[in-house]
């Protein structure tokens, strides 16, 4: 754990060694009015891994991602990103961070008024205003091909299915070639086949781009498919972190309850 933090103005991403601590949520507390979401919550994320944050609805899984990317602020505690305390960053200071940390939103959050190509080009125009138009077009085509949607630049978001929207959302997120991808419920509302293709995409981001991923989900199949480590969020804190095998054999009551509930859901008459 890094004990010191640097001033925001000095922020510059340093390529991490695989496995070293990249992000650390330290003693995080967050409440919305009377509703407490986190109470002294700790969690670390290592470079190159896919960390799945699992938990029930309303436990604050998405809040964690939004705090990391600066869309929400924790009440107390620190979020250390390569030693920089993000909780002290202003909106302007967050801009370079958002070039390295991208988010894939639950509903994709594509801009309705822009076509697919313009959506994917959006972060490039913001972060690299001097990038030539040809290079932007080439980068857009490359990222759309990477998510198996080549040649869809001229389609409008309203023409796309749920799975395609998520893919375009991913292409937009990886346009700036970020080192960290935050996935907010990537498989919610998708059919099993599309869910599996999204899981394959999450894994391919790690193998092909070497990205660190934080995946927030309550889909256990997805969690165990993509996760190098799984963290269980319950009762306002992380109750257990471990690899999929450790989690599957967990004796922590909150984890057990989650796993057993899913088993009952899949096999109402008893597990085969």
């Amino acid at each position: 754990m890094r004990s010191s933090s640097s001033p925001a103005s000095e922020f510059a991403f340093q390529p991490p060694r695989p496995g070293e601590q990249l992000i650390y949520f330290e003693h995080l507390t967050k409440a919305f009015g009377a509703k407490h979401v986190y109470d002294d919550m700790d969690l670390d994320v290592r470079a190159g891994e896919t960390l799945v944050v699992m938990g029930g609805s309303g436990t604050g899984k998405s809040v964690l991602l939004k705090c990391l990317i600066g869309l929400l602020s924790p009440d107390t505690g620190r979020i250390l990103f390569q030693g920089h305390d993000l909780t002290r960053f202003t909106e302007e200071q967050f801009m370079p961070v958002r070039r390295h940390v991208a988010m894939v939103f639950q509903g994709a959050a594509l801009f309705d008024s822009l076509n697919v190509g313009e959506n994917v080009a959006y972060p490039l125009r913001e972060h690299f205003p001097d990038m030539p138009a040809d290079e932007v077009r080439a980068r857009v085509a490359e990222k759309l091909a990477l998510v198996d949607l080549p040649g869809t630049e001229r389609l409008m978001p309203s023409d796309l299915s749920g799975g395609m929207r998520k893919r375009v959302g991913l292409a937009r997120a990886i346009a700036t070639e970020p080192e960290v991808i935050l996935w907010d419920e990537p498989t919610t509302g998708l059919d099993p086949v599309t869910t599996q293709s999204i899981n394959v995409l999450i894994n391919s981001m790690k193998t092909r781009l070497g990205c660190t991923s934080i995946v927030v989900t309550h889909d256990m199949v997805s969690a165990f498919t993509v996760g190098d480590r799984i963290a269980m969020l319950a009762n306002r804190r992380i109750v257990q972190v471990g690899n999929p095998r450790e989690m599957l054999h967990s004796t922590v009551p909150e984890v057990r309850a989650f796993l057993d509930a899913r088993r009952v859901e899949l096999f109402p008459g008893g597990a085969p």
């Binding site: 309303g58 998405s62 809040v63 939004k66």
Partner: protein, 269 residues
């Protein structure tokens, strides 16, 4: 800019708000709106300028509002000309109707009626559009992708309102006056020459300018309130509906209040 509360419904955790809570909430809203106004102005004067966005919104808000603005102005001109013609004829001074109509239109009716009719359309449209973007996380996405929602969404819309409303007010002045001249010519046999000569003799530049100034202030109010309500939507699609209704109510009351104070100010100048 305020942020929404994803996943967690804090309001559900507490009971119905008391009168004190509501007053506090209103004051907080007013404070947030004032803060946003300052942020919008500071961004509007600093480059980069979004000329394309400004032209697009000026066209979409202004040109498409022209029919309703002109129709309202035409009927306002017709009605006040008939009314004034009728009452002035009782005193045998119906030939002065042009003077009264132009002052009423230029100083008061054209800017206020345009703001109330067009403003409701523009303000609620902005609130609905930005509200829908807020609930579908598009506003969050703009921030996450390294852009500033105030600069991208609010500044061009507010500036477009600031440009569009005075222009629509001038159009309303002209259409209302022409409609008034035609109806008194038909109804009271006052020649168009007499009507317009009297009107132009009576009106001074400050009368015209005060109406245009009111239009600009009303435009600013409509743009800011619409954007603020849209960006602070909570509660999904139901919240978007609530925001549009609140925008119409807030802009209408604010326009009437601002009209009173601007009238006081311009009459004393």
């Amino acid at each position: 800019m305020t942020t929404r509360q994803p996943e967690v419904d804090a309001a559900a955790a507490s009971g119905p708000p008391s009168l004190m809570d509501r007053a506090k909430e209103r004051l907080e809203s007013l404070g947030a709106l004032s803060r946003m106004t300052g942020q919008v102005f500071s961004r509007a004067v600093r480059p980069p300028y979004d000329w394309r966005g400004l032209v697009y919104h000026t066209e979409s808000l202004g040109v498409r509002s022209l029919p309703i603005a002109l129709l309202t102005a035409m009927f306002a001109g017709l009605v006040i000309s008939l009314q004034f013609g009728y009452f002035l004829s009782r005193f045998g001074v119906q030939y002065t109707v042009g003077r009264v109509v132009i002052l009423t239109l230029f100083r008061e009716l054209a800017p206020v009626l345009t703001a109330l009719t067009v403003g409701a359309r523009i303000g609620s449209g902005i609130a609905a559009e930005l509200g829908a973007m807020t609930v579908t996380e598009q506003v969050d996405a703009i921030r996450a992708l390294g852009a500033d929602p105030l600069r991208k969404l609010v500044v061009p819309r507010v500036l477009a309102c600031l440009i569009v409303m005075p222009v629509l007010t001038v159009f309303a002045d002209v259409v209302g006056l022409v409609a008034g001249g035609l109806v008194v010519n038909f109804q009271y046999a006052i020649t168009l020459n007499l009507f317009f000569q009297g009107a132009l003799d009576a009106v001074l530049m400050p009368d015209f300018a005060s109406g245009v100034f009111k239009g600009a202030v009303f435009g600013l109010i409509i743009g800011l309130v619409g954007c603020f309500r849209g960006l602070t939507v909570e509660g999904g699609t139901e919240g978007v509906g609530r925001a549009t209704t609140q925008t119409v109510a807030t802009t209408s009351v604010s326009v009437c209040l601002a009209d009173f104070f601007i009238t006081q100010l311009t009459l004393n100048l």
